[in-house]
Symmetry: C2
Subunit: 314 residues, 2 copies
Amino acid sequence: MRITLKECAEIIGRYNSFLILTHASPDGDTLGSAFALKRALDKIGKPSQVICNDEIPQKYSFLWDGIANDTVDFEAVIAVDIADRKLLGEEINSKYGDRIVLAIDHHLSHRDYAENTFLCDRASNSENIYALVNEMNIPIDSGLATCIYCGMATDTGCFLFTNTTAKTHKTAAVLMEMGADFALVNRKMFETKTMSYLKLEQMALSTVELHFGGKCAIMQITQEMFRESHSNDGECDGIASLPRKIEGVLIGITIREKENGTYKVSIRTVEPYDAAELCAHFGGGGHNRAAGCEFECSLEETKSALLKLIGEKI
Amino acid sequence: MRITLKECAEIIGRYNSFLILTHASPDGDTLGSAFALKRALDKIGKPSQVICNDEIPQKYSFLWDGIANDTVDFEAVIAVDIADRKLLGEEINSKYGDRIVLAIDHHLSHRDYAENTFLCDRASNSENIYALVNEMNIPIDSGLATCIYCGMATDTGCFLFTNTTAKTHKTAAVLMEMGADFALVNRKMFETKTMSYLKLEQMALSTVELHFGGKCAIMQITQEMFRESHSNDGECDGIASLPRKIEGVLIGITIREKENGTYKVSIRTVEPYDAAELCAHFGGGGHNRAAGCEFECSLEETKSALLKLIGEKI
C-alpha cells in the first residue's frame, strides 16, 4: 500500500526495534538513508541495525562514526532506496524480501514489494529520510546531517546532475548549517581516487566505441581489467558516467563483466533519451538519466541487443 | 584604494561606458563575472565590451548568448577576478594595466593595481558581481543568473571544494529560481570531455610520481602530449586537480609546459597545506587550496625546487 509521510511516521511509531535493509552494491544514498534513519531511531530510543547483502566499502565508515551497529532482535523490517526486492541481493532477498513492513524509496520505477511504501520522487532517497525525521520532530545533529548530505551528494553527483533543484541546494545549505561535514563527504566520495581505480579508468577508456555518429558511446570493463589494475567493483561507482561525458554523446553505456560472467549494463543519457525506459526493455530500471539492467548472454550479444534498441530510438 | 560595495556601485554610476577585462587563460569565473557585469550594465543603458588577452574557448558561448559584445568607445576600464595585473596577459596588461579604474576581485592574494579595488573573499568573484548587481537594484534575468551560476560552479568545482558555504548553496538556489540554466552550465563545464582531452588525461596520468610517502603527487603535461592527443591548453581547466585526487595525496602538483618552453605549475592541497603560500615562494599566488606559479628554468630544476620546498613543509 502506498502511504503518506505522516503514515510512514505512524508505522515507525508502532514498533520498538528495526532491521534496516540497503540495496546490494551499496552506494552513498542507500547507506546515507539507512544510517540517517538509524541515527534518528537511536535518538528516540528505538534500537535498529543496518544490513547489506554485500560488504560495505570502508570509505563509507564516516556514516557510522560514533554509533554502534550491533545485532538487534527486531520487530519490523524497513527497506531504504530499493526500487525492486531483487536489488536486495540474493541472500537478503530470500531471508527478508517477503517480510518488509515499510519501504522508503524515491525511484519512480518502484515495484511494490513491501506492506507499506512511502515513495516520493526527490533527487535522493536521503531527502525522504530528512523529510521523515522532520515529520517525527527528531532533532538533527551533525552526524545525522552528514548522512543525509552524503545521500544527496551521491545521487546528484554533487549538485551536478539535472535532478538537482533549488530545493536540493536549500536543503544542502540547512544541512551544512546543522554541521554536516560536507568537506569530508565530498573528499571521500568525489575527490579520492585510488591509483588502481585510475588505472582501471585508463583501461576502460581505451575500449570506448562511438556509434550512431558519435551520439552513443559504449565502454567495457572486464574482470581481466579488475585483476590487472588491482581494482574492484566497489571502487568504480562513478565510472559508469564516463562514456556519456564524451563530447557529443547523448547515450553513454558501460558494460561491466561480473564475477559470474554475466554483464551489468549502466546507461546514462542526455535529454530527450530516457535511460530507465531503455533499461526497462531488458528488465532493468532506474531514473530518467541513469539506469541499469543485466544480461546473461555473451558480450557481443549484449552489445548488439543494446545497439539494436538504441538504433530504433536515436 | 580599497572600497566598499556601495562605493563600487557609485564609481560605476560616474561613467557611461566600460571596457571589462578578464584574466588570460580565461575560466568560468572571470568570464562569468565579466558577462554578468556586462549584462547588468546593458540593463541600465551603459554600453560595455568584454575583452581577453587569449581566445575565449567556444564552450563558454552561452555566456554571451543573445547579447552583442561590440567595440565600445569606453570611459572607464574595469578588471574582474584578477589578482595581479600580470595575469591580464602581456598585451592587455601593457595596453590597459595602468589605467584600471575599478578592480572587482575575490583573491586574498590580490596585489593592488587599480585606482579602486572592491575585494571580498567569496568562493567566486561572480558572487561579488551578484552582490554588486543587487546593490545597484538591477533586475536579474535568466541570462545574467546563468553567468553568475557559471562563475560560482567553476570556482567551487560544482559545490565540491571546501570554499563552498551554506551561503553558496542558498545563492545557487536563488539563481536557479531566477532561471539560471544550471543544467547547461554543468554539462558544458563538468560533464563534457573531448576524446582528445581524455587521451591527454591518460598520458598525463602515466607520468604521476608519488613523493614523501605518497603525500605529494607530481604530474607532467608536455607540449608533445598536446600534439599527440590533439588537445590544447584551453581544454584542460580541470586537469590540475587530478594529482590531489589520488588517495593519500595532500599536495598535488601539475607541471604544464607552455608553448615558449617555460612551465606553469598548479598546486592543489588538502588541509593543513596552503597552496597560495607554497606558490608565493615562487612569485605566484591564488587561494588556500588552489594556486599557481611559473618557472623559467628546466623541468628538472622546476621539480627539484618544488620538492625542496615541500620537503621542508611536509
